[in-house]
Subunit: 246 residues, 6 copies
């Protein structure tokens, strides 16, 4: 059974990753999954937030936003509204947690890694593309600390990528939903996984629907395949830095 863009159920969209995209950040990636485009920047700040001070360890935090016209309909800017939406908060908390799971914060000193994921064009899967792209930006920034002899070794224990899976109205489980699929799906699940195939985060939601244990297993299997392909791509982009991850 074919999807509306001719992909098979377990087929990812075209992946394009541009490193060094913006000049100033210590790590900068343009992450493209089909028509979804996210600028992922990693910045290093030489201090930690108040609640972390004096512990001799670092912190990783993420912010996520969309350009107003990243979507079909223009959205009001969150700066104009004067507050960040619940959706945005959920996503930025997710990105931060995911990245922290593979970094040994005790090895980066009292530094904060700021991850900024700015969606310039959205077609579904922006939060998972953000995590996958931000991982590369973060590793690049941390590697720069190693190069500058600020820290001794790359404090990254594994690769990390994310993908969405879901169940379409016809009952078909599919990988990497685009916006059209996402907006009609019965079930939507985001999976964050390491290079060793361990789960970091699993968020499955049946909005006005439910899903069975069997459907869960099918989605997990699709997700694992997708993540493995994304991690292969990450290794390719990171080149020789790949060997420093462990």
């Amino acid at each position: 059974m074919e999807r509306h863009d001719n992909r098979t159920a377990n087929e990812l969209r075209t992946i394009a990753i541009t490193t060094g995209y913006i000049t100033h950040p210590e790590g900068s990636v343009l992450m493209e999954m089909g028509q979804t485009k996210v600028i992922c920047n990693a910045s290093i700040e030489d201090r930690v937030p108040p609640f972390m001070r004096g512990q001799g360890k670092g912190w990783i935090t993420a912010e996520y936003a969309m350009l107003p016209r990243a979507t079909e309909q223009r959205n009001i800017r969150e700066s104009s509204k004067g507050k960040v939406s619940g959706r945005t908060m959920e996503i930025q908390r997710l990105i931060g947690r995911a990245l922290r799971s593979v970094v040994d914060l005790s090895k980066i000193g009292e530094r904060t890694i700021w991850i900024d994921c700015d969606v310039i064009q959205a077609d579904g899967g922006t939060r998972t593309a953000s995590i996958t792209g931000a991982y590369i930006a973060m590793v690049t920034a941390l590697h720069q600390l190693v190069e500058n002899k600020v820290i001794k070794e790359l404090p990254v224990s594994d690769f990390l990528a994310a993908i969405s899976v879901g169940v379409l109205p016809d009952g078909q489980e599919v990988l990497d939903l685009n916006y059209m699929e996402d907006s009609t799906a019965d079930v939507d699940m985001n999976i964050v996984m390491t290079g060793k195939g361990e789960f970091v985060e699993l968020q499955g939601t049946g909005e006005e629907a439910t899903f069975s244990a069997k459907q869960l297993q099918a989605m997990l299997q699709l997700g694992e395949q997708g993540i493995q392909a994304l991690i292969d791509k990450q290794k390719e982009m990171l080149g020789s830095i790949t060997d420093l991850v462990n």
Copy 2:
């Protein structure tokens, strides 16, 4: 292996549910899971939010808060801070989505069911206790609409409860974590499930840790047992209304 409060791995805390707790709301429940106490009120408003108007269907939305001293350390009130935290937003979005999954919104007319979950004492598992208690408050309020002949039948397709499961630092998977367990656990997972055993929501997180597919299966099994027990308790509290759910 015993837990610090002498429970076995698959043992729920003592459940106490008081219905009709507050006078004014259409449904009101004091939900207690061990030392966690949540007032769950359901209010019916005869209109829907702007984005729903004119569709002839209803809406369910939830708000969640803690009294400042529900916890060991006093928290600053969100009204004083002037904004709702990301954690609060996540939880209230979760409660709303969960409840909407078992209600046929097209059968309640242009009405909003407001669910207010106010934690007066917290000892872990406040979001899952909120969902389990709010379900009863909501069904009570909807049943009142039936009694008052405002709607014809109870538009509730199934029972619904939620529970937390997790992995302790010693690797043991456990059910219904209290605060002491939750704050040290490697993995924390919240499961929302229907009476038929279908998943509504699955949120597993390994903060600075990961979990394997095997651990996931063990947690899902514990969760299913816990939810079945909670739903039995819900049926007991709802009495004759139980038969109207389907």
Copy 3:
């Protein structure tokens, strides 16, 4: 002439005071005046606000809130609105001032006593019930400091309670108005008084009405009787601590 709930003009509603209501706070009281129910928690923090630092003395501050459905109509949460209403501010300033009038702040060191009054069910007189209940919670918390030998003696100079009085549309002065009376009264007056019968606060308001000197005297007399009864109840609840107040 009889009131709508059969009370006489100088009759208080049924008083119920539960101490030790919530586990975590240093002092916790559920204060009930008829159908009005307020959770009054006292928390001790080992520092004072910036404007008090370095003076070697303490501070008492109060916050007041209502659950959204404490009232007949659901109110929007102040945390959702992003600001605290003028009414709430007035009440919490009143509670704080009242309690400070009977405590020797120079004897508690640089500590803040946080008073949280959360109305879970409202039927008129919530601010006066808050003061009367918060007094007990505060004394309990201060007594714990004495027990723990943090301070030498209970720094409380007198008992303190509050009650509302008013003039009904028929011209009758009455004590302890419930919501139905309060919403139609010509005059509403809140009185805060010490055990020695001294005034701490007097706030009389004739919204779209006025009151004469004679009516004022009648209201003051009713208020004094009511407060004496409340203070008797406080003494009963505080038991042996009662003797330490002076």
Copy 4:
């Protein structure tokens, strides 16, 4: 016993009232009580706030502010802080309530009278000066409606003025406290009274102090004298309009 500025206990400060102070408002008064100077403007808007619509009656609402350097120390602007303080809210609610008590809102149609009291120089008693001055501005604006034949008669039932009284640390009750007295007084009471000598509002506060029934009577007597003098001054300023008030 003499006060620090040589006034006797029952002596008001020099009163100066300038009408027609600002060009645009329908009523505009510069109210001076000694060194306290308040611009009181009354504006008429041809609609009422949402909660009043469709009732065929009007509304009176007040706003109060201080210039940042009205006081000895510069205060941060409330517009810069992004919120109005509790003190400001209390005062503007008081001014609005007081003025509404002498106006028949059903006779002004669906109109709002906006009262703006802006303190340009503060030396104690700003809220009572605001009420006394705002009364004149309001009556002027309402009279203009009569002149323009928008309404038939002046819907004002009585005169209205306000003054502060208090107890100094030496136990002396005094009238019309300036800032130096106010900041050290044991008791501070604001009285709003009509031309007929009826109370509209009574707010007595003993911050870290209390007051006896006898002191209360002494303060009320001083207040009544002061208010009578202020109302005489109001009549003088209003000239022939005076006869229309009843």
Copy 5:
């Protein structure tokens, strides 16, 4: 060709400057340009904002506001709206920049000069009147520092005034537009200039219109004349302090 208020194209409105207008500030001026009236207060604070600390130099910052009824239509208070408008921000940034251009900040120590410009009556040209009046208030405040031997000499390098010029719909360039002219003008330009005739700020805007190089020159010439007259007035008001400016 005559203007609607009978002025010639290069004629200023009547200027009235009252010094020492408010008691508390170190410098206080009531600046009147025709019907435009602005209270300009200068306050000295013995510290600088965080971004300036430790540099041994001072800072000048300005705030600008209007009373709600300074204008024909009542405006909502910015404190009630909870935020400062873009227009207000532009104006206060302009005033601050302008004043800083003639003060040697390295000679005033770590002090902040707060400039508060509060428009009590508006008839066009409020921002330029604010600058011209604030200059006098600021110099007065700085001179007081000299008098009190806090600083050695007046750190003011030149006089400074501002005026508006514009092009009316009939093509006529005019000086010092009042509100009626300003609201219909094709071009509006604000000029800030020193006593030596150097530009400090030039802001010309053609809302839904444009202007030629020739019109620009004509406006600049008018502006220069106006500013010279304003500076003559400033010298007169500052009296003997005038000689200390250089």
Copy 6:
């Protein structure tokens, strides 16, 4: 005399304009001036803001933002701060005014053209690059309305571009300052001009410095040259649409 990047005083940086940059907006341009990169999107909304309704004409409004790491130091997001800075407000008001000056709003019906300028990399001149790029995006969007026969003709009266000029510390007037020049310049001036060479906006500022009439003329001359080159580039990008502008 050479500039630090080897440009001559009247030399623009390399201009790169990519049209159709983002898929969803009706007009989308990536505008690059040297290292400054701005995404300029134009969106058409079929209604106008409340203050414009019922007049049968349209509106153009602009929003401007920077990615947090568009600059050398990471800036806090305005959505996180909960408010838009004064600088941002100034810039977006400037962009909106500038674009409105060349569009006949009465010919676009009750529609709003939203202009979003998002700086993804900043190296000086972001506001002028925004105007120049937004002009193309806006014309593209308006042309689409013509193509879709929603409006009859392109309601654009002229070309429009903007550039910065300034005076370096050595007294040299220069065109198109980059960040290093801008941050040290004595004078900074932004010029917005039409294809016919008329001024739309002129904003010259001497922060802690002043400028003479002669320097002003030199800057205006440089600006005019720069703008002419930019408009040539605009014509090239707009191709056949160019002929519809008049």
